[in-house]
Amino acid sequence: MKTRIHITPILWTALLVILTGSSAIAQQSAIHQRLLLHVPELNALSVPARLLPLDQSEAKEAAAKLLWTSNGSEKKITVAKQTPHPAGVRITVRDVDHHASEGRSVELTGETDIDLLYGLQRSAGACVIEFSLLSAFPASAPPVLILYTVTNS
């Protein structure tokens, strides 16, 4: 019985110390903020906005770099000649990061969209595109305007 009398106050003291210590450690205040995050499908294309040095008389090749970024799935890049012109233009793709379309060559004869790069999957990449004339351009020919489009495959 004596032993019990001595131990009980010690236990209570220890418990009090523990509770006091826990209380000090647990002191805190919290606040919440609600955020709304959203990433829609995004597509970006870039080509140099300049006239390429395409030699009209010799149909010499000229090169430009085409860059793309898309976070969508199953995308392709199409090309179309926007300026009506009797002469055809050939576009050849090389040095492409997305190897599925490397070496692809398309001929732009009209304003219809033609697949240039395809099978793009959530990626960013670049390729060199080369132009060549299929027939001689008249000296007075206007610039050829080419439209690139990212669209669903």
Partner: protein
């Protein structure tokens, strides 16, 4: 004899009144004063939607968006080792990053801290060494970024918890 009696009466009355005028009572009270530990943190509200709207062709990292429209205020009297931690209700998927920066004049801001994977069990310090006192209207800056490889993210609600603690 009558004269002596009268004088004695006057003397006694005078003594009695005099004693009454000097009488006083004193009471004491024990007042216990205490200031408990105070921790308070509040924000001005919720930030606006963080929507990534553009990217640069040829670059996988889409253009990050930032919101610094909200502020926080704190009051604490605990000590000079108080800090603010931050965590989210759930981690972000791979390829998305949410960073948080809290300005501070009473402590040391950790700058822009990635909280994309900070959950309740792994909260990260955003301000440390906060001294006793109050710090009001400090700017909260959120930066949300994503890669093209990660793909689109449907509108997602996230809860960020700021905790003032020792």
């Amino acid at each position: 004899m009558k004269k002596i009696f009268a004088l004695s009466t006057i003397a006694m009355l005078s003594a009695a009144f005099s004693s009454a005028s000097f009488a006083q009572a004193t009471a004491t009270q024990n007042v216990t004063l205490a200031v408990n530990t105070v921790y308070k943190i509040a924000t001005s509200g919720n930030p606006g939607p963080l929507t990534i709207t553009t990217g640069t062709a040829g670059v996988d990292a889409l253009d990050a968006v930032t919101d610094n429209s909200t502020t926080y205020s704190i009051t604490q009297n605990f000590g000079n080792t108080v800090k603010i931690t931050a965590h989210m209700d759930a981690a972000l998927p791979a390829g998305y990053q949410l960073s948080l920066g809290l300005a501070s004049t009473k402590g040391t801001s950790a700058g822009t801290v990635d909280i994309s994977n900070a959950t309740s069990g792994s909260a990260v310090d955003v301000v440390t060494g906060i001294q006793r006192g109050a710090d009001a209207g400090q700017t909260i800056t959120y930066t949300f970024s994503a890669s093209a490889t990660a793909g689109p993210l449907a509108s997602t609600s996230k809860i960020v918890t700021l905790t003032l603690t020792n």
